[in-house]
Symmetry: C2
Subunit: 400 residues, 2 copies
DNA sequence: CGAACTTTGTTAGAGACCTTGCCAAATTTG
DNA sequence: CAAATTTGGCAAGGTCTCTAACAAAGTTCG
């Protein structure tokens, strides 16, 4: 029902207005009272009241006078950065990345660590906890100051069993309750677990090519294949959280059943698939997809053939995605998407022209590279943390 | 930014509360003041004030006393049905259907007319306008009483050019500005034009199998193929309004370029595709898909083979859809989906088990049949009309 | 059949919030 | 240094909602 809205009393009205002021300060940065009055439509006394409350809750702070204009100098306010801290953790297949940022998103400390591989969940969590403590020390804050932690991992997070599905590279995490171990990484703070590719899409929307775009998709091609979907500016997860798991899309020739267990698209289009095809066509000494792409750039005919085949596979998969979602843009990310973007974007877009009913959406290579997941986790965390700190502050100290 | 909300004054608060009361009456039907107070959390005096305002605006009316319980009899209120009228129009390929309903959704008059075919847009609009006038007369209301008209048509509605794309069966409607002709069908009221399959999905969500479901898709298989997508309970249209145009999905064998101009999935899975395959396999006297399905039910081996192939094509297309969207349910509708649901549901679900990564969503046959589009148009219209009449009433007569 | 009980609806008083209008303070401009 | 301009604060007034008490109208039980 579109007619909705909850019934409210005047106290709720006050909270709504304070929230609006808080949000406006985030949007505008350093801002004066008259500017806030202008932006929110509220009167000067109301703005002053709201600011007094927010300052008492230590969510904002006065930052000094703005002089230079005619008239009395305005006292500027800004978000108090230390009002919240967000820990973002990218638990990748080969690397672990962590970043600690304050409430305005400035990164105070970060780590990139190579994984040894084969850790048990307990070992992994212990390691991450140690790294988190290092970050917190480095930033000069306390573990208890962390507002929220966001983890990005492969696989999908099953809320019923608290386990990870479809994450073959994280052994032991499929067991019921395993994910709850992550609660121990950073103090008592709440935590979120999201699919890594989904987060990369959010990152692309917050800091990359998807800024201000309502509907787009990020296709992640590397050792595996996945897709993150942003609809109406928000991450779309699907019913089971499996939206965008396109590795199983039926693409390419051959008996689909042969490829059971690994997705059909994944088996032909992932890094391994590229290497396999190159070898099959007679290339020598190829150990990684990067070798193939480098050879193609150098003019190797067989390598170019492999690239063309790869582009064709991607185009066919994207044709299905586009037919279903009709996005404004498709971003290619992940190892292959980012490394070979220059080689693939053109042929993929060309191929799509024959496969798509209407206009072909923009096809772009991600500009965020390996940072996408971490940035997405940070974006999710910051958004959520802003709500959390406000909710807490308003709940604790209600009236004036 | 998740922290949002607009700043408000107390006058806005009053409107919010009145809107909440209005919505609650829609939800509960005949309802007393104490029940409204309970449901909205507002106090008795506030409920009385809101009801007085709503009654003065002629949006609700007292309906009598509820006696029987202990204590004083409660005065019941309900939505005044005549507070708004919605005209729903399904402009199909072979039929035109119209329904006129009051604000609570009771259908006061309707028509089902066979199309002559080949009308110009002007002729079609004139015909529809005549039918609309008949409906209005039959219901005993005036053309000016119509709050909103919703049209469902094939093709997608391009807002920039005001034309219909991808609607080969509606000649003349691709011209820029053509759609604006529809404004003349029902007085001065605002109107909406939506894709017919999208509306069918909305109908399924409002009156059919999708009730209370957040994410589902309706696949429409008939003379053409399309899909309507509901995400978070709302219709998802995509960037260009082409979301769910799966007729072009690359499915099945053969050179895709051969099928250019007609979608690849559409060419093999639509009604024509079924007839074509049956003929190719040696069936005689087959003129419609229904013949094939009847023969399959009667035990004809070749027909069963055609059905199996059809199910296989649908399963492969759905595998792509499910990989992207991860819906809770997929409904099969349209001529083939509804008529042959009994034959297809099982094999399609079985086929999907080998093509889908996680749990296969529910696969169901639509229960709404040919009514789906009209019901969807009505659902869209009613939702919008409820907003419209409230907005108008509150804007006209603000305070008490 | 009537008194006690229960629920409904209204009225009065009070509290919370926002706004307008006015005035003081602080800074630039001439 | 005075005029102009902008900022910030204060007081008065209006709107909205809530609580509490009361009146009205039905049922239940003796």
């Amino acid at each position: 029902m579109s007619i909705g809205g909850t019934a409210s009393t005047t106290a709720v009205l006050r909270v709504m207005n304070e929230r609006a002021v808080f949000a406006e300060i985030f949007k505008l940065g350093k801002v004066s009272r008259p500017e806030l009055a202008q932006a929110t439509g509220l009167s000067k006394p109301t703005i002053s009241m709201a600011l007094a409350d927010l300052e008492r809750a230590r969510l904002v702070r006065p930052i000094g006078l703005r002089t230079g204009n005619a008239g009395r100098a305005a006292l500027l306010y800004e978000i108090r950065p230390q009002a919240g801290w967000v820990l973002a953790v990218d638990v990748g297949r080969e690397f672990v990345r962590l970043a600690l940022a304050d409430l305005v998103g400035d990164i105070a400390a970060r780590r990139d660590e190579h994984r040894k591989g084969g850790e048990t969940p307990g070992e992994l969590v212990a390691w991450l906890a140690g790294l988190a403590r290092e970050l917190v020390d480095e930033a000069g804050v306390d573990l208890a100051d962390i507002t929220l932690t966001v983890f990005g991992t492969p696989g999908i997070h099953d809320k019923e069993t608290c386990s990870l599905q479809l994450a073959p590279n994280l052994p032991g995490w499929g067991r019921p309750g395993a994910i709850e171990l992550l609660a121990g990484v950073a103090g008592e703070a709440p935590y979120l677990v999201e699919n890594d590719v989904d987060l990369a899409a959010v990152g692309e929307g917050a800091y990359g090519l998807g800024q201000g775009m309502a509907h787009f998709a990020l296709v992640w091609i590397g050792t595996g294949i996945g897709m993150g979907i942003v609809i109406d500016g928000k991450l779309y997860r699907g019913y089971q959280g499996a939206a965008g798991e396109i590795s199983y899309m039926p693409v390419g020739e051959g008996d689909p059943l042969v490829n059971r267990g690994r997705g059909m698209l994944e088996s032909v289009a992932s890094a391994d698939g590229v290497v396999a095809l190159a070898t099959r066509l007679g290339m020598r000494g190829v150990t990684s997809a990067k070798d193939v792409f480098d050879a193609a750039r150098a003019g190797d005919d067989v390598a170019r053939q492999v690239v063309a085949a790869e582009a064709d596979h991607i185009a066919h998969a994207l044709a299905g995605v586009i037919a279903v979602l009709d996005p404004e843009m498709v971003v290619l990310g992940g190892g292959i998407g980012a490394q070979a973007g220059d080689l693939l974007i053109g042929p993929v877009a060309d191929g799509l022209r024959d496969l798509v009913a209407l206009r072909v959406p923009m096809i772009r290579a991600s500009t965020l590279g390996t940072e996408a997941v971490l940035l997405g986790a940070m974006a999710v965390g910051l958004t959520k943390a802003r709500d959390l700190v406000f909710e807490r502050a308003v709940a604790q100290a209600p009236p004036g």
